[in-house]
């Protein structure tokens, strides 16, 4: 696994740049990951990121966009507003998780 240095911390990443060790993540690192992809985190972002972290810990896989929407009660449109373009992947990246595997 390659490593890269983010906010002064060496983290393991895969060949796309996603963190491969969820235990290396912290809120501070999440803030920096978001900044690197052009997102400034607000309370609305954090609510989703903490859901993703918590859900991953219980389910062992990253929630799909639909799961994030239904489980947090957030409309799909808001997810696209908060993480523009590729919300599922951007959310997973900022949360230090693998990109979701599910189709829907």
């Amino acid at each position: 696994m390659p490593t890269t240095t983010i906010a002064g911390q060496a983290v393991e990443v895969n060949d796309e740049g996603f963190l491969t060790r969820p235990d290396q993540w912290s809120d501070d690192l999440g803030t920096e990951l978001a900044r690197l992809i052009g997102i400034e985190l607000t309370a609305d972002h954090w609510k989703l990121l903490h859901f993703l972290r918590d859900d991953f810990a219980h389910q062992g896989e990253t929630a799909t966009l639909r799961r994030v929407s239904t489980q947090t009660g957030t409309p799909i449109k808001s997810l696209f507003d908060l993480f523009p373009g590729k919300p599922a992947k951007k959310m997973a990246y900022v949360a230090g998780l693998p990109k979701p595997k599910g189709c829907v």
């Binding site: 490593t3 240095t5 373009g85 590729k86 829907v104």
Partner: protein
Amino acid sequence: MTTHADQTTPFVPRFDAPESQGRKLAIICSKGNLDMAYPGLILANAALGEGVETHLFFTFWGFDMINKKTSGDLKFTMLGNTATHLPQGLGGIPGMTHLATSQMKKAIADLDVPEVPEFLDQIVGSGGHLWACRMSADMQHLTEVDLRDDVEGIISASDFIELTEGAQLLFI
């Protein structure tokens, strides 16, 4: 363990790479069977999640997907579908289409995949565009009031081709 070459620049996924900008996808949905509604919906949803501008054009039997009366009531039949690997005669027994439909709906729900109307809600919420075919509307004597409110218009085939200029196209 390898180390990324340039330690001063963090290695970050290329989410908004310039070469992937401006991509468009057009999906023509021509079937009204439950099993044939899903491929277009799943691909549209996936494309939108990748930031691809996506247009769906509903034509012929595909109208059942956006007709308010039928959208939530699409069916799956074994008849004429050899991929069930069951004797075709079974499919003709009264109640068999109902049973096959219930089983397929359950299998889809078990995967947390929404029913057709809710799936279209999700697609529109993700920025997808729904269009209805003019000729199909005329043939079936349907107007805007019969269709989902988020169908952006009943348009001709030429108009659809024009508005999806440069798009990749799927016919389902």
